[in-house]
């Protein structure tokens, strides 16, 4: 599975209130949430993101609340993958459950710049910065989680298994 997109770079400890402020959680429509993604941090984000863009961050991305609205909003706004030094635990789980690929790489997090074009190979964990012509490696996503992502998240994965009759 390969992904290519432009980089949006963020710092450390980006919390779920920054990703999607709680004031918008009185509903859970993905398109509506997408309009407010990263609003307090970067008001222009939701208008300027192009489908396929990649989010890059430092440590502990997605700390704070368990709201799945956070990865949902990022996915709905068009983000195809998130690369960070580390992720907060619940965000990591939620992202993969929704079929949003998350990769951990300190080197990539430090070296890649805002606006770079980057290609990611989810199977091998290879991250290639096309702008800087530099290559990095993240720990590949475990096989069973790759299956989740391929199926489009845990729910579709469970449903598929169910339809096959081997849940």
């Amino acid at each position: 599975m390969k992904i290519e997109g432009r980089i949006w770079k963020f710092g450390s400890d980006v919390d779920t209130d920054a990703i999607i402020p709680a004031r918008y959680l009185n509903q859970s429509d993905a398109k509506e949430l997408a309009k407010h993604a990263m609003e307090d941090e970067r008001p222009e984000f939701s208008q300027k993101v192009k489908k396929g863009d990649i989010l890059l961050a430092e440590k502990n991305f997605g700390c704070g609340s368990s709201r799945e609205h956070a990865p949902l909003a990022l996915k709905a706004v068009g983000i195809s993958c998130i690369i960070a030094k580390s992720f907060a635990r619940i965000f990591y789980r939620n992202g993969l459950n929704l079929g949003l690929p998350l990769l951990e790489s300190s080197e990539a997090s430090e070296a890649i710049h805002e606006g770079d074009r980057v290609r990611v190979n989810l199977t091998t964990g290879e991250i290639f910065d096309l702008t800087q012509k530099k290559k990095f490696f993240a720990k590949p996503i475990p096989a069973f989680m790759q299956d989740l992502i391929k199926d489009g998240g845990l729910i579709r994965h469970l449903r598929k298994k169910r339809l096959k009759g081997n849940r």
């Binding site: 209130d17 009185n26 307090d40 941090e41 709201r67 580390s86 619940i90 729910i155």
Partner: protein, 437 residues
Amino acid sequence: MKKNAPMTITEKILAAHAGKKRVSPGKLLNVRIDLALGNDITAPLAIKAFKEIGAKKVFHRDRVVLVPDHFTPAKDILSAEQCKILREFAKAQRLTHFFEIGECGIEHALLPEKGLVLPGEVAIGADSHTCTYGALGAFSTGVGSTDLAAAMATGKLWFKVPESFKLIYYGKINSWVSGKDLILFTIGDIGVDGALYQAMEFCGEAIQKLSMASRFTMANMAIEAGAKNGIIEPDETTLQFVKPRAKRPYRIYRSDREANYAEAREYNVSKIFPQVALPHIPSNVKDVREIGKIEIDQVIIGSCTNGHLDDLRVAAKILKGKKTAPSLRLIIIPATPEIYHQALREGLFEIFLSAGAVISPPTCGPCLGGHMGVLAEGEKALATTNRNFRGRMGHSQSEVYLSSPAVAAASAIKGWICHPDEIMKKGFKGSRVQGVK
């Protein structure tokens, strides 16, 4: 793994719920769930996902709990619609525990109070502060809506066994110091990812002296250090709390003496004084006497962290016969109807109202910038809640400071953040009541 390898309390509970004799950190387990929780923000997504899986019935109608506590009593039409989704699902699934307004309180205070989570159990909730129940000696952790859907459908969820981080507290607890100050101090020390993916095990003689309220506060904020769960071994205090509430048998687990810890830290609590977390991150913690004069517009006493009866009692002790500073807004939010009722009986409301406070029905309300006290641009609030991220309580240019109820009450009188001693002059006896048995 060695046959008789020692285990931590967290490892023992997970092993028992995965049908294994022993487990070690890093192992992936399919774990049986004793209780699954959702609220008015997270359950609507989970219910949608539950239907998408094609599931017909929840795994156990007594073990799926829905608590509409965040934007309730419904603050607007959209919130009302969310609550309706919960209500209808609860009815269709004949759930035993759906808490309608009047019975509804903040989930993490409500569930222990009703005896819905017990020592030795595994509880998951689509809310990050589900880690609160670790104070009972249970394994409990927050998950997202999709995980909740899977848990509701199957009664199981996969988990990686976390490494454990042992935090030992010893020494004499100072005046006005509660569980809130200990956990703020700890987060200030280890950072917001200081226990990432780990189990924080709180222990030591000082923890044994803490009331259940203070223990819940500590376990509640384990997530603020990135932990998967926080946990405290049950003792007499735990059992006194649990016994009258439990309606099913439960099991007490304890860590083996030689159990393995990825990390350990010791804190001499006699060196810990009332703490404050400054904006915009819970680890930005200072001693309250070292922050200078920070004037505030609003004080909030409540939330799943500090909306317990003990918290209201200590606030009342300080507010008794006093008035809040002019132009400061004091909002008090008892966490559950039972706490509300008891506070009323004890005459605490009389004290609060005379001081100039407003008393809200049980709700998360302003804790997440929902309603009942949202902040305007440039405003500063001191709150007994657990998070002070940018925009958490309202405008992105507002500021949230975190403290114990004692510091919050004293500051409401002064108008700026202060040590309770500034209100309760020296020589005050019984100032150690908060959080101490």
